[in-house]
Amino acid sequence: MLGLPELQARLAVALLREDAREIVGAVASDGLSPAARVAVYRNHVFASLTDALAATYPVVCRLVDRRFFGFAADRFIRSHPPTGPCLFEYGGGFPEFLAGFPPCAGHPYLADVARLEWTMNVALHAEDARAMEPARLGEVRPENVGRLVFRVDPSAAWLRSPWSVDRIWRTNQPGADFGAIVDLTTGPVRLEIRRRDDHVTLRALEPADFALRAALGAGASFEAAADAATAEDPGFDLAASLRALLEEGLLTGFSLHPQEGGPPS
């Protein structure tokens, strides 16, 4: 007789690998084959997880059609089963999987569309955060401005793609003009994704502004982020950009880099 840990491990394998050989001996037949009984569970596991991926990646699903999506999802679920019980957190590895999935090789933009959808999903469920009062920057001595390390709205993220994934996404929303043709050659795009007033927003940024925000989002000091921005555009107006960040409520707090070149405190 199998112990409980072994029995559960074998049923998990039977469900994920579609190979019930190791478990059927433990299942009573009761008028129906053990394999058919195990298959009922397997069908539910794959159908429900495919539905969860389709809910997170509706545009990808539309672009490749539901049948192909189901095929890709099946392969993904086998190799990347959920590691937690919250379905809205499942599928973060799907864009990478699509990027390396040979049947998708003819759709090079697909993985980036998936990255955009995952980023929007994360933004939707991110923790709520309150914007910092701009006046708090008055506490910072002028010589320390470069050492500022801002905390940013946890729903905000920045995504760059060689493809016009924002246009692809918009063209494939319910109610959009499905007949519209997206010119894939208008990329690259630099996008800011962020939840505002309960809705996930998407907007394109200029290269320098993108560099500044993406660097701050990655935890860089204000000085390092400013350097990244001026590398894109030597005429970049840093003061105006900082005002915009504060007005948009993107910044939620700050600390000071302990010393030049050191990690943030």
Binding site: Q8, G31, Y41, T83, D128, P154
Partner: protein, 288 residues
Amino acid sequence: MASEGVGVRSLPARAGIGLRSPHVAEVLAARPALSWLEVHPENYLGGGPAVGALDQLRSEYPMAFHAVGLSIGSAEGVDRRHLDRVRGLVERFEPALVSEHLAWSRSGGAYLNHLLPLPYTEESLAAVCRNVDAVQTALRRRILIENPSAYLRFACSTIPEAAFLAELARRTGCGLLCDVNNVHVTAQNLGLDAVGYLDAIPADAVAEIHLAGHSANDVDGRTLLIDDHGAPVDAAVWTLYEHALRRFGAVPTLVEWDTAVPPLEVLMGEARQADARRRAVSEDARAA
């Protein structure tokens, strides 16, 4: 009943509905007359509009949490990280009841998103008791455990499911959530007597009843009932519900609908029917 801390509204002994995302906006806008709501905590463990909506609903309706991911049947124990997140949500919203299933979904770090069956053995009973103890300790309250729908039985099982649940309740002090549709589905699929099953459940431990629809599928020439929560409550389940009410008394009842979710009004109609059956059963009892 579960321990009721300050600010926790208990559930009325009437029929509520399982709140699913397609209905959240409508319930928030129209505030329909619903006796109580039940939600899956796993859908509210992030931030954003979902949790904001739950905040508003919590002030308007009595609420229960019906967990699907604690995997209290796992030999490897309860996932502490997930349990901590659920505890945070329970502390924030103070639901009247918290329930979970007699099932497992986690093995080797993978979550299979299903309520998987246990062999009913002394080993399993010990593991489930440990896990239920861990959950009740973390949440600092009594939880309810629900009977699952089964499509298979393990040959090594030695304890009938109802007796397993009775012993689980006795050892851990947990309450029971009797899903009458699941009793019917399991009984049909495994060739058991549904009424005998209900009669073997300790009535004083039952603090909630669930109702839902199922579908009938032909598998290799045999009819298998699938607990898909995608149809009205079946006539046989309504009959079984009346038997359950006579056995367990008037306890809060919940109607669930998860696939092909119908308009809210249809779900409310099912809840009204459950209320009508409860009144009829209690009038019969008085007349007798």
